[in-house]
């Protein structure tokens, strides 16, 4: 199925050998969107590669920024003020809502609904993107986090608008679920297709909703408890079949958890500086050393590994992209399924080519 097949999310090619309808061998081919992200990272200053992190996983730029900022702060030992931590959590959870809604929409589109769930998903996504735009200036390429805090302080009415959105999100989710989760056709098509065993998932280094759908309890927000996640109480949903239906349901349940986190965060956000006063913008020379900062992105564990040698440019700049790792098991899930299922399984893995190819 060629690079611009209508069902792959971006330029991604699958060489599928068929026996009748069932798949015998599947070789994913990607690299069409390789932009040499990591080499650029080595030739520019730490600050300059921040806007490039938006282009990694172009659906959730806020979490990419946060992961990179976290890594650099770990490298340079940069403290982060209280309010910035809260704003970062709020933005990360909003991005999670955004990403999971998008995924549900694309998955239904692969299943064959002629666009209806996708349009509902995009209607909600637009609202979140408008919030990002009024905060950071651009809908998807926010470039909003800095080392030691955030660039702009969200105003009171921005926070009110965001709170009003999260309260309304529960209603949208209920409507979305009544349309889809109970639908017999969807259940018939997705339950049992693309089954992933927990052992294989753990060995292949799968992270994020795909891993939790197989039943493995591994959520960085609980494991690392980075930022101030330890202050919020939320639950981590786990599936037990590891098939396409589970991945869809896990993401929907995670959205509900994110809404809870957001509501708690809005209630408890303190006033105060948005960025650490001592934070240096230009001439930022971290001491030599290495650091690996990772957060629980909507697609899985997104991590940045930096080695600095005291100069303004990092010596080594490595991105651990969840989509790339999750893609490695695509063949194991597709064996024995029909062509129509391969398309759905790819959809449920939720890959974004910008992140896969870097």
């Amino acid at each position: 199925m060629g690079p611009h097949h209508p069902s792959t999310h971006g330029v991604f090619r699958m060489i599928v050998t068929l026996d009748g309808e069932t798949i015998v061998k599947l070789k994913p081919v990607f690299g069409y969107l390789h932009r040499n992200h990591e080499k650029i990272g080595e030739n520019t200053t730490y600050l300059a590669s921040m806007p490039y992190t938006d282009r990694l996983d172009y659906l959730c730029s806020m979490t990419n920024n946060w992961a990179y900022a976290l890594a650099v702060e770990k490298l340079a030992g940069q403290p982060v003020p209280e309010r910035a931590e809260y704003v970062r959590v709020i933005l990360a959870e909003l991005t999670r809502l955004l990403n999971h809604t998008c995924l549900a929409g694309f998955l239904m589109q692969d299943l064959g609904c002629s666009g209806t769930p996708l349009m509902y998903a995009f209607r909600e996504r637009e609202k979140i993107l408008d919030l990002f735009e009024s905060l950071s200036g651009s809908r998807m390429m926010c470039n909003y986090q800095r080392f030691g805090g955030c660039r702009l302080d969200p105003t009171a009415d921005w926070l009110a608008a965001a709170k009003q959105l999260t309260d309304g999100y529960g209603r949208f989710l209920d409507e979305f679920e009544t349309l889809l989760t109970g639908n017999e056709i969807i259940m018939a098509r997705t339950q049992g297709t693309g089954r992933l065993s927990p052992e294989l998932a753990v060995n292949a280094g799968i992270t994020g909703p795909m891993l939790r759908a197989t039943g493995v309890n591994y959520d960085l927000r609980k494991v690392d408890a980075y930022g101030i996640y330890s202050r919020f109480d939320f639950r981590v949903p786990l599936g037990d079949h590891g098939d396409v239906y589970d991945r869809y349901m896990i993401r929907v349940l995670e959205m509900r958890e994110s809404i809870k986190i957001l509501q708690q965060a809005f209630a408890a956000i303190p006033a105060g500086p948005i960025i650490d006063p001592g934070a240096k913008l230009r001439g930022f020379r971290p001491k030599a050393g290495e650091a690996y900062g990772r957060i629980e992105g909507p697609k899985g564990e997104i991590g940045f590994y930096l080695i600095s040698d005291g100069t303004p440019n990092p010596y080594r700049y490595r991105v651990r992209a969840p989509s790339f790792v999750n893609l490695t098991v695509l063949e194991d899930m597709c064996l024995g399924q029909t062509v129509a299922d391969a398309v759905i399984i790819l959809g449920s893995v939720d890959i974004v080519l910008g992140e896969v190819d870097r």
Binding site: C113, S114, M187, N217, A340
Partner: protein, 437 residues
């Protein structure tokens, strides 16, 4: 409402049975609107000598059907995209400008809320370059859309649009309808085979498997109607649904348990037969690009599109005739509205239902599709046959028996539905999820 001027003309070859149309007019209620079309036609054909009158009748009918259903097709495509849009919270096409002629610049400025869209599509389809793959055998490539459209139009001939507006009054009309319907498979095969590429042949095979496996439930679902109505001719079936019970419940077949079950099976099978919504496997975008239509472009593609809509209109027209009491008004005092208006309203209601389903459901996989037909629809249709027999037997006796037959027949059809439904959905169940500590 679409005024259907359709001639009543006896089947040409059996001269004996020419039903004198003038006689029919006298019996019908003589409101002007009701029999305007027939009188108009008689006025025209009256001038011609006898043998030519029959040809004039035929031509009249053909012209009327093509005119009405052609326009209906055009505006149905627009309605489909509008409804799909509105369901998805967007306006749907409204940007097609009215044609601007050099001398009438202002024409282009009129905001036509999308009404000019079908004509724009038509022009686009006409002007699109018509690609024929070099390997394909030209004859079949050209013949496929023509054949498909021909069979689809043939089925329209036998549906009674109004009180005495039926193009061809046949004794075995329903059988004729499904004979013409069954021939569409041939055309689909030709299309798949003629475009000479692997994908479209695979899709043609899938389409045929689907058409064949859904033809049986389609046929089985109208047998009860014929058993109760006692005749195969559509006009007689509509006749059988005349009259009202207790003054306001019409005798429509759909209001009886077996009738409702038959109607549901008929509609599901009709959905599959015209390749729409949950069963639109041949044109499954995500798998085979456009199924057996990949190699067609320009006007031939529009032909396929038109044939699909004609098929949909024909099937829902037949559903209206069989189950919803053809052109009968639902309530006695609503009789003054002309009969073809009622038929049109019911037809549009059904087609809007088609579109509504298209906007909501995802697609079934090929094996689920055929399993659904063989394991669920066919047994249900057979049970429905038994159900009608019980209904007919119990209807003879005392009123108590008449009352008792409602729950009995309802039970006969609902219990297997639930049991088969459970068997059908054994492979999946709504799941509950646990949360980590």
């Amino acid at each position: 409402m679409s005024v259907v001027v359709v001639a009543t003309s006896a089947s040409e070859w059996t001269a004996l049975r020419v039903v004198d149309s003038l006689a029919l007019v006298a019996t019908a209620t003589d409101r002007f609107l009701e029999c305007a079309p027939v009188m108009l036609r008689d006025a025209v054909t009256g001038l011609l000598p006898d043998p030519w009158r029959w040809i004039a009748n035929g031509l009249f009918a053909i012209v009327a059907i093509f005119a009405v259903f052609g326009l209906l097709f055009a505006f149905l495509t627009l309605a489909e995209r509008k409804i799909l849009g509105r369901v998805q919270n967007r306006p749907g096409p409204n940007r097609a400008p009215t044609p601007t002629f050099p001398f009438a610049k202002f024409l282009g400025k009129i905001r036509t809320y999308g009404l000019a869209q079908p004509f724009a599509d038509g022009v686009k389809a006409l002007t699109k370059e018509d690609i024929v793959p070099d390997g394909a055998d030209k004859v079949l490539h050209f013949l496929a859309p023509v054949a498909l459209l021909a069979f689809a139009t043939l089925t329209l001939v036998v549906i009674p649009f109004g009180r005495n507006l039926v193009a061809l009054q046949l004794d075995a009309a329903v059988l004729y309808f499904f004979a013409a319907g069954a021939a569409t498979e041939l055309a689909v095969f030709m299309a798949g085979w003629a475009s000479r590429n692997k994908y479209s042949l695979l899709a043609a095979m899938r389409a045929l498997a689907q058409l064949i496996s859904y033809e049986l439930p389609l046929l089985l679902s109208w047998v009860p109607v014929v058993m109760i109505a006692g005749s195969l001719s559509t006009v007689a079936i509509v006749e059988a649904q005349a009259g009202w019970k207790f003054g306001f419940i019409p005798h429509w077949h759909v209001l009886t348990p077996w009738g409702f079950a038959g109607f549901v099976i008929f509609m599901v099978a009709a959905l599959a037969e015209s390749n729409r919504s949950p069963f639109d496997l041949p044109e499954a975008e995500s798998e085979l690009i456009a199924g057996h239509l990949t190699e067609y472009s320009g006007f031939k593609y529009a032909f396929f599109f038109m044939a699909e809509y004609f098929g949909m209109c024909a099937l829902s027209g037949m559903a209206v005739t069989l189950f919803l009491g053809g052109w009968r008004a639902p309530l006695p005092f609503l009789e003054f509205i002309p009969s073809y208006a009622w038929f049109g309203a019911k037809l549009l209601a059904l087609i809007l239902g088609f579109m509504w389903i298209r906007a909501t459901f995802p697609r079934l996989r090929i094996d689920q599709l055929t399993r659904f037909s063989w394991k669920f629809l066919v047994p249900l249709a057979l049970i429905n046959l038994g159900n009608t027999v019980v209904w007919a037997l119990m209807s003879g006796g005392s009123p108590a028996l008449a009352l008792a037959r409602w729950p009995v027949c309802a039970a006969i059809i609902v219990v297997p539905f639930v049991w088969l439904g459970r068997a059908q959905s054994a492979s999946y169940a709504p799941r509950t999820y646990r949360y980590a500590a």
